[in-house]
């Protein structure tokens, strides 16, 4: 993972981004529990707009999928998207630890 320029600025920002992602995962869990689709889409929009900036294009791709969820979505699929996000987060953490 991590195709963006790795500069001192980016190292600092990436470290902040990992904390931000942790918060977004917690929010996603709450929103899934309350089945708040509008806010889940908003969350996807934020992920799409941020991941690639920090060298994590998979986060942006996943965010785009979440951003455009349809009204009649199967909630099992949304649960799957959350699991994908957690998996990506875990990989990012390993990447961060190695750098």
């Amino acid at each position: 993972m991590g195709r963006a320029l790795v500069t001192e600025d980016m190292i600092e920002l990436r470290s902040l981004y990992v904390g931000y992602l942790r918060n977004e995962i917690d929010s996603f869990k709450s929103l899934l529990a309350s089945k708040d689709l509008d806010q889940i889409r908003e969350l996807g929009h934020r992920l799409k707009g941020s991941g690639g900036t920090y060298g994590f294009p998979q986060i942006s791709e996943l965010g785009e999928t979440i951003q455009y969820l349809e009204d009649n979505v199967d909630w099992k699929d949304v649960e799957g998207l959350l699991l994908q996000l957690v998996e990506l987060y875990d990989r990012i953490q390993v990447f961060q630890d190695d750098n």
Partner: protein
């Protein structure tokens, strides 16, 4: 004296990215806000050289109603005292044709897609608009 950029952005990580990139790579003075009164005040004071405007804003209200970056950009372009300020729209909405729709509706001067992948290209775009 450095040029001053106002960043209108509700996402803290994107705001941080814009702020650091503009300060450290572009040597710009930067103000970050999503407060509409503050945005209009700063713009009317004449001290802002360019505005980076997020399209989707969750916490910005004007006369009691929620406003997005499109409406805010229009407010700036409708005001005689602020219309000269270049507005660069920034958004993660990237469906085909949306860029043109957003630019026309907002009367903004340029558009940047999020995520911003190349900070140098981003700074270049800003320099073009304020040249």
């Amino acid at each position: 004296m450095p040029k001053r950029i106002m960043v209108v952005e509700d996402d803290p990580m994107n705001a941080k990215f814009f702020e650091l990139t503009l300060k450290r790579r572009g040597n710009f003075d930067v103000v970050v806000t999503e407060d509409v009164n503050q945005i209009l005040d700063f713009a009317r004071q004449g001290s802002i050289d360019l505005i980076i405007m997020d399209v989707s804003l969750c916490n910005s209200f004007y006369h009691g109603a929620r406003v997005d970056g499109i409406a805010l950009s229009r407010l700036i372009k409708d005001d005689e005292s602020t219309r000269r300020i270049p507005v660069l729209l920034a958004t993660a909405h990237a469906m085909k044709g949306e860029q043109e729709v957003f630019l026309k509706a907002s009367r903004a001067d340029g558009y940047v897609s999020k995520p911003v992948i190349d900070p140098n290209e981003f700074i270049g775009k800003i320099n073009e608009l304020i040249a």
